[in-house]
Symmetry: C5
Subunit: 93 residues, 5 copies
């Protein structure tokens, strides 16, 4: 999973019917220091996150696993809100 | 999902038979400010998008989920037209 | 899918038996202007392409969908020959 | 698989229920010389690794294979602790 | 598939039991001119390759297809040894 910061919302009327009823956010991937990385993604929310939240999300086929009852065409899904990050080692060997 | 802008059409006669009848577009990935990113992709359309439209699309195995009745060899599929993007926070913490 | 240009052939005797009988090419990913991008890939051909052809190809698990009768260990497969590309808009909004 | 160094822990209360009971770490991808690469990931642990350990991990759908009894929404999972790396050739032909 | 050069071996005692009995190598992705690219990977071998060999390998879920009898948590698997590469065109149109 990767870290991300929810930054906006997507409004779309014409879309795949399997996406109906799901909230779509614009999200920025971030690192552990909340530095923005790469490019915004459009993500499906599953945990009630809101704009501004720090979240972790899955990409790829795993992005569909929270929806066991249907095959959602999503490749990026928020699966948790981050309460706290403990960085124990900075990894420089 | 990622954002994209439809920029052209692909004409192909020799192709995998499972792709017959599907519209193939050239699409440019874009960010939330409509800035072009990376490289053009060839995408399958499922929502009636046209050249010039702002869309969001899925990559990977999820690109096949809109086609529940057959296994399409697609790794990039348009699943929605974007009506509006609300950017609530710019994410700089 | 992405665009590519077939540039060479791979000869291999020791290989996964599921790849027996399939043609393996060296292919260069290209953009819509035929500019070479990134790194050569080894791809499985399914449409009778030849060295020099402009093709589009799928990556990921979808690369196995043209082979419905067996699970091919391929993550890059040519699924169509490009006859023509019509670029309708250059996407600069 | 790729190499990684466990650098921290993630605390999260609101998350996908399928992730309950699993340890989530912050991990830095590293190369064979333990040089840090790219961006930290949030990973699921399956082998009892701890902060500071050198591990190898799988990404993508394969990240769910250690959990045969349930579909975990994970796209990065630690599957082994590295005891030793023997670099036999530096690969320069 | 991509090309790679086997450069070393991984020794690991604590690992996912599904990886028991499989040889794990350190491999460098290379291009068609044997130039090293990107970062070393940890790969599972299926064709009896050895340190120094030029191989081609699959990434993603397809990396598990050579193991039809079990779900291996591998995202990078060697599936062939390269005997010869014929580069017919350099692709510059």
């Amino acid at each position: 999973m990767k870290l991300g910061r929810v930054t906006g919302k997507v409004w779309a009327t014409a879309k795949d019917p399997k996406l109906n009823g799901l909230t779509l956010y614009v999200m920025q991937p971030v690192d552990e220091n909340d530095k923005f990385l790469g490019t915004e993604l459009v993500v499906v929310d599953t945990v009630g996150s809101r704009e501004g939240d720090l979240v972790y999300w899955v990409g790829g086929a795993e992005a569909t696993f929270p929806f066991s009852d249907r095959q959602i065409p999503s490749d990026a899904t928020i699966v948790g809100l981050v309460d706290r990050l403990d960085i124990v080692t900075d990894g420089t060997a």
